[in-house]
Subunit: 349 residues, 3 copies
């Protein structure tokens, strides 16, 4: 489906964020992931697990079922599955058919996030998860990282990835808050490797964003670095740093200094889980941004949902017109399409 080849939805063999760690607890949490119902919960020993969210007997939602110890007892006929997915109890018979099990998904907690591997578990290599160092998540005492918002978006996931892979939108969609015209006008420097696609813009002697003005009362020019690293298939780690511009008193004095993290996870074919988080040595700055960024993220959600509505209503998705600024998004799409092509090729026909 657009913007991918017909029949291509999302790569399955990759780590996606299923939830913020702090969303997972004793209660069962239901979430569609890559068009499969999934249940997340934390075992008595504190381990977070993810299992299939549909009872294989009669399709009842296991997320609306009951925990019995570390197992889930289906709310319909009481069939019970351990956290490993194996059936342990069938109330209506004394033996448990060997085939009776649900999928158990590899799930790893790292940083603020619980990472799920929806594809072949045999390929679930943890070293493919972005490391904390890679994403700028520091473990030193002064660093404060915080999950901001989980949003369930009514639009296909790639629209959000496209959004994040083209930050020329900062000065327009977010022109009243976190961007200026220079975010679009400044050339981008890219760097791609097997794990991630990096894009950076360095702006020198550039007007401050409204956010910097409002938070620091700084009206003068600044220097800024902005950009994101897209870790395939669905995590974007970014920087948003500003300093008082050269030539001004206090030149080089740090203003904003933050790490932002966007996780984009396909839900159903037309819905997306969007997780936004932030970290900084400036704890007050993080607290300030929790409220400040709420309408900003809402703008991205609006764009995604409005575009989904347009392309779903039209008879067919019209051809999109590419600009130079789309290079990064196109590179990112190519990586995902290649992952999907490889999975399709590996599929026994």
């Amino acid at each position: 489906m657009y913007p991918f080849k017909q029949g291509s939805f999302a790569p399955r063999n990759g780590w996606y964020v299923a939830a913020f760690c702090n969303e997972i607890g004793e209660p069962l949490l239901s979430r569609w992931i890559l068009n499969q119902p999934v249940v997340l919960y934390r075992k008595a020993d504190g381990t977070a697990v993810a299992v299939e969210g549909r009872c294989p007997h009669r399709h009842f939602p296991l997320g609306d079922s009951k925990r019995v110890g570390d197992a889930i007892q289906c709310g319909y006929h009481g069939i019970t599955f351990g956290a490993d997915g194996k059936c342990t109890f069938v109330p209506s018979q004394t033996t448990v058919p060997g085939v009776l099990s649900i999928r158990s998904y590899p799930l790893v907690e790292r940083g603020l996030w619980a990472w799920i591997w929806p594809g072949d578990p045999a390929l679930a290599d943890e070293s493919l998860i972005p490391t904390l160092q890679e994403i700028g998540y520091r473990l030193d005492a002064g660093f404060h990282a915080q999950p901001f918002y989980y949003t369930h978006v009514s639009g296909r996931y790639q629209l959000l990835n496209d959004n994040l892979l083209d930050l020329t939108h900062l000065g327009y969609l977010h022109g009243g808050s976190i961007g200026t015209a220079d975010d679009a006008a400044t050339p981008e420097v890219r760097d791609q490797d097997a794990r991630r696609l990096r894009s950076r813009r360095t702006m020198v002697n550039t007007p401050p964003t409204p956010a910097i003005r409002q938070r620091f009362g700084h009206e003068g020019l600044v220097d800024r670095v902005s950009g994101l690293d897209f870790f395939f298939p669905g995590f974007h780690a970014g920087v948003g740093d500003s300093w008082v511009a050269q030539g001004l008193p206090d030149a080089g004095k740090p203003l904003a200094d933050s790490r932002v993290w966007h996780a984009v996870t396909p839900g159903t074919r037309h819905t997306t889980h969007y997780f936004f988080a932030m970290g900084s040595n400036d704890r007050d700055g993080v607290e300030f941004m929790v409220d400040y960024l709420k309408p900003v993220i809402a703008e991205d959600v609006f764009a995604t949902e409005a575009i989904e509505k347009i392309i779903s209503t039209m008879d067919e998705v019209p051809t999109e017109l590419m600009l130079r600024s789309d290079t990064t998004a196109v590179m990112g799409r190519r990586v995902l399409q290649a992952m999907m092509d490889a999975e399709a090729a590996a599929q026994p026909s």
Copy 2:
């Protein structure tokens, strides 16, 4: 459609409950039945009738039209149809075209229910309607029968039939009210004939259901008989009897003694009319159960709608895993599928 063959929706040649008798009166009642709009009303002489709910001229809903005596005058252009479906008046011309008529459905009131035959009227044999005796509806003065709830369910009808054909769910979906683990653990005795499929469970020295505890204050063991007769294609008549268990003081003393009736009628392809009623010699018990069972039936509706949502969202309905407890449901499905196959074979191609 699932769980039937592709292209199979519902048998047409069979008696379905269209409404509780007490729902039908002077005002026009609109209801989709087997994906056809139907209107139900009561003529001046008290006879209940069912006619097509769509004006054949311009598809206006006749249920949103106007009664003129025993006829319906289409609310759009005033074309008028008698209770037999024949057009009696066309306001814009002096003659009535012979072809201008709507379907009039065989409709029979028996017990609490108005039974409709959506298929070929020539085949509408009233003796195929379950008799009052067969369904345990007694006419003696002490017996009190009462329509409880009509619910419009957002799920395909067979999910509700499946629910009723596998009462191992009583101790789980309804574990807090009308079932115990023994409802699942006890073997089932089945009996099938041309009219109905019977299933019964006899539980001896079994814990009382929460309902029995709450209503009778009886905490000791009981003996119970539970089960339903599925009258094809959409009516389930059941028993729920309990006695104080042998070996206890008052052994054999009747506790609950009730007949329950579930009617399941296909509405549109993804909606269902669900009629629940109850009867007993214990009038106070019936009154008690009107409130008591409301959340219980809501649990069945929840299960149906949640399963519908899961199987409608997934790319295709996944294979279901059968257990021994599904035998009755599978037998029931086979009967309906055979009815549909026979109808398809009889269809002129």
Copy 3:
């Protein structure tokens, strides 16, 4: 789609009402027209314009974007389009690709309406727009014309055209207000030319409509002329004149004397824009009717939406049964189908 051939939706080469003139101003107005997103606004010099409502870069809704002078700056990445549809600015690059433009639709204001040509602009001949004289819109000082209601209807547009092309519904759907049984019983006189299809009914010594009774306190018989001219493809101009009947005191005294205008514009495939307006020398009458006709138009909208719901739910649209009174509607449909057929034939394959 019904009631047209499969694959036929709506003629594109024709003038449709996009909006009442007074709906178009400084703010951007979004409207789907013939299943394309369109934006309407008024330039600084007062000229109303209509352009494509989707940015060709990433499909963002231009109607949710920002005006910059007479141009629209896409709310997403800031790409800017002049009122002629040509791209004038791309924030992320210094040159503007020649192919970067949006459609600019021919738009003409005439009378109360802004007329749009969704098809080939080369064919947009203004002389095809109904003239004020043709629709009975007088420019003399005594004449008062007023836009009444814009309604977004959840039903396919032809259902509304069918409604207006068969006024036998007046005495039934609107029997309590603007029609009597004679609206159906009276034969129709038709006249068709290349521009429009006219239908008139002349009723002599006929009961007054409830509206006439209520407004004029006139209970006696009247003479009436009623009918509409359907200007292809989507405008209906009508008369509703009444006089005190011959033989009564005050015979021939004018009662109602009004022009009504219904514009029907396809929105998406299953939604329609419906514009109703009225004009008369009797300004008080017009004021009276603004409130009086609100429920009347709501009846037409109800009929349209109820029929849409029925035919969309059924497995297929059933055959409709034709009456003599459908002659005008059938003639109207034929004209639209012929327009669509001609457009399909002209399409390069």
